[in-house]
């Protein structure tokens, strides 16, 4: 029971230890806050500029969610397509892999030319960076169906569509939720990177302007906020995953 409690609190303990160590190093060696601000300094800046930070954070948040929403729709549809048809799989997969290897930050200037400065490039970057894992996971869930099960249903005259809806889709749900957790963190990366060069609002923009004004405490505060938002969303999807696809996690959850 004691080790259970320890396990539960371990992330907080580690976080606290890291902050204490960081603060200790900064105070002990008297590190300049223009080089590497201490946690205390970041906290002060966070409080001081809370209105500004909140506005930028909100912008980053909804832009990310918009991009992520498109990523879910496109990822699920493409994943469904390539997971259910071998022809589509062999046609699309290599292209998608090549596309996924492109650094998405490099696309931002192109998106700016097409859509101008603002939310367009940010939403699209968040989308482009995060749909791939969703697509791959849906496709994997559909493509790895047991052949025996398929025979059991096909003998009854089930069409390919029946097999996909009755078995394929529910079966790929754990993969889907697993991929959402990865994809949401990537979406925040996409939005932030895009805002750094192609926006006048958002945490990415805040990072750049705080950096150029030598307000390192504020820049770090911005980073902390993005990290916290991504972590909260990760936890949200992880919660939904546990409560909708418990059958797939019975071992680790100790049901």
């Amino acid at each position: 029971m004691k080790s259970r409690a320890l396990e539960k609190w371990s992330p907080w303990l580690l976080l606290f230890a890291v902050i204490a160590f960081w603060q200790g190093v900064c105070s002990l060696f008297n590190v300049s806050e223009f080089i590497f601000p201490s946690p205390l300094r970041i906290w002060e800046q966070l409080i001081e500029f809370k209105g500004t930070i909140a506005a930028h954070a909100w912008r980053t948040y909804w832009v990310t969610m918009a991009g992520f929403g498109i990523a879910i729709v496109v990822g699920v549809l493409l994943g469904f397509l390539i997971g259910s048809s071998r022809l589509a799989y062999s046609a699309i997969y290599p292209l998608m892999t090549a596309f996924n290897a492109l650094p998405k930050a490099a696309l931002v200037p192109i998106l700016v030319v097409w859509f101008g400065i603002g939310i367009g490039p940010a939403i699209l970057t968040a989308f482009l960076i995060s749909f791939f894992p969703i697509m791959v996971n849906i496709a994997t869930g559909l493509a790895t169906l047991e052949p025996e099960l398929e025979d059991v249903l096909r003998v009854l005259g089930a069409k390919r569509w029946d097999v996909l809806i009755k078995v394929g889709l529910p079966r790929s749900m754990p993969y889907f939720f697993g991929s959402l957790k990865v994809a949401i963190t990537l979406a925040f990366v996409g939005t932030t990177v895009s805002e750094m060069t192609a926006a006048n609002e958002g945490i990415g923009y805040l990072l750049i302007s705080a950096g150029s004004a030598m307000k390192m405490g504020l820049a770090f505060a911005g980073l902390v906020v993005v990290g916290v938002m991504a972590m909260l969303m990760y936890e949200l999807f992880s919660y939904i995953e546990r409560n909708t696809t418990a059958w797939a996690h019975r071992g680790s959850q100790g049901v």
Partner: protein, 272 residues
């Protein structure tokens, strides 16, 4: 029509694709076999001898490369919808309860499919009574992963029988179970068959299992997959587990073993 066989294989050959056909590599060759309505047949043979291929032909999942398959007097042109299947792996869906797993075929096969929503209660009751018959009463709302291997296999057999198929195909259904559970399930299958008299094609490599359950046992050889021996099992029914310890019974098992041993040795002789 009374005497025309229910399952009729006439000189059936199957190669899995055109390439293999061109090379004359057949998974099964020259299968000639007639099964009467309500007959319980078993097909035994070493692994890889084409037993599962035979099942695919009998269900219409595969078309023969040569020869014809007739079932119920009709030439087979596609999946039949009058058969149920169970395999060595129970392959139940882990997100459905036992009851919902058993109901799955009714959501797919006509005429149940179109009435499924209106008559769900009636169907559920039917599934429950079937589950009770195999000793799974009280486990309807459990998930498959909460059941033991033997119980999962029972549920899998219920799933194969829920739409009252005229033909039940079993591909080594008890292969992964321990000896006691296996014998329990033999008796359950025996009783279900005695009651409903569907046709059974049981593929197995357990000679005692085939002798205990079947009316007729076919022995298949490996490479080429051919039926080499047909053996009628004339043991009286109803058969009791005690029967498996009588001399009569073991003589039959020995004879079957002899047939399989013979062509295995032959095969080895050729290889040398």
């Amino acid at each position: 029509m009374e005497n025309s066989p229910f399952v009729d294989f006439q000189d059936v050959w199957l190669a899995y694709n055109d390439e293999l056909l061109a090379q004359q590599q057949f998974a099964v060759e020259a299968i000639d076999l007639q099964v009467q309505e309500g007959e319980f047949i078993a097909i035994v043979g070493p692994s890889g001898c084409g037993k599962s291929t035979f099942m695919k032909l009998a269900t219409g999942l595969r078309m023969p490369s040569r020869g014809t398959v007739h079932i119920g007097g009709q030439p087979v042109t596609g999946p039949l919808k009058i058969s149920g299947m169970a395999f060595q792996a129970p392959s139940l869906l882990p997100w459905r309860t036992t009851l919902d797993n058993v109901l799955l075929p009714l959501e797919i096969v006509e005429p149940y499919r179109s009435q499924f929503k209106q008559r769900r209660e009636e169907y559920a009751e039917r599934a429950r009574s079937l589950l009770r018959k195999v000793g799974l009463g009280g486990y309807e709302d459990k998930f498959p992963w909460q059941l033991s291997g033997g119980m999962q296999q029972r549920a899998s057999i219920c799933r194969a029988l829920i739409h009252e198929p005229r033909m039940l195909l079993l591909d080594e259904p008890f292969g992964a179970l321990d000896a006691f559970t296996r014998e329990d399930l033999w008796c359950i299958l025996r009783d279900l068959w005695a009651e409903q008299r569907f046709n059974v094609i049981l593929v197995t490599h357990d000679l005692r299992e085939s002798t205990f359950l079947a009316d007729t046992v076919y022995v298949m050889s490996k490479g080429p997959g051919r039926i080499v021996v047909k053996m009628d099992i004339d043991l009286p029914r109803p058969r009791d587990l005690e029967l498996t310890y009588t001399k009569e019974f073991t003589d039959i098992v020995h004879e079957l073993r002899g047939h399989i041993g013979a062509f295995r040795n032959e095969g080895l002789g050729v290889a040398k």
